[in-house]
């Protein structure tokens, strides 16, 4: 792991769950691991990624994790950038891989997977599952319905302990 000011104290190197192929509905076990320097080349805007993940990776207060299929660790399915605040986990960014965006997306479940991971991390840290993030206004309703997130104001949303537990049960109930 990178040395950072707000470092994750507990080691969660690997967590397993799954994403689903849109066409075949086949489910593929996934892993979430910390993003490495060697991954940066593949997650540039040139490769279709929307955000500047290289810059995100270099910010000292951020931890960036990647979601991959267990049997294909070289292809990144999605990314999440978080900061551990004093009492909860704050999500700065979540982005699905370019091939998991839009009506032609290949896999379903990537963002839910990453949100569940943030909740799991929050529980591990003793923050009782609390996670916050800034939502785009057009996604507030969806986040509320699918994640159980509550609108806090100023487009800030919070996943509380109960919603976090539900999310974790969906993804980590093994």
């Amino acid at each position: 792991m990178k040395a950072k000011d707000h470092h994750i104290e507990i080691e969660i190197d690997k967590l397993t769950r799954s994403i689903e192929n849109v066409i075949t509905s086949d489910s593929f076990p996934t892993e979430i691991t910390i993003l490495e320097n060697s991954d940066l080349e593949l997650i540039s805007k040139k490769h279709g990624w929307r955000f500047d993940w290289k810059a995100e990776f270099r910010l000292p207060d951020r931890d960036v994790y990647k979601l991959t299929i267990r049997d294909n660790l070289s292809v990144i399915q999605g990314l999440i950038s978080i900061t551990e605040k004093a009492d909860h986990v704050y999500i700065h960014l979540i982005e699905s891989a370019p091939f998991n965006i839009g009506k032609q997306k290949v896999y379903l479940g990537v963002p839910g997977n990453l949100f569940a991971f943030a909740c799991k991390l929050s529980f591990h840290r003793g923050d009782e599952g609390y996670v916050s993030f800034a939502s785009k206004s057009n996604l507030i309703e969806h986040y509320s319905k699918t994640l159980g997130a509550k609108l806090f104001g100023n487009q800030l949303m919070i996943i509380d302990t109960i919603a976090a537990s539900r999310l974790i049960n969906k993804y980590f109930n093994d």
Partner: protein, 54 residues
């Protein structure tokens, strides 16, 4: 094990926005109040269990 299937025409994205000190404070207050509320509910449940004759 379940899965949250986002609609095909919707992409869940969280946009970058630094958390202001004011927002941070509000969130902390919310979390404190929510924890207190949950503990209160648990206490009530426990009291109910002990007062209802089995």
């Amino acid at each position: 094990m379940g899965l949250i299937r986002e609609p095909m025409d919707i992409d869940f994205v969280v946009d970058p926005r630094p958390l202001s000190k004011e927002d941070q404070l509000k969130i902390s207050e919310f979390i404190k109040a929510d924890k207190k509320r949950r503990k209160g509910l648990l206490r009530k449940k426990k009291q109910l269990r002990t007062t209802i004759p089995g």
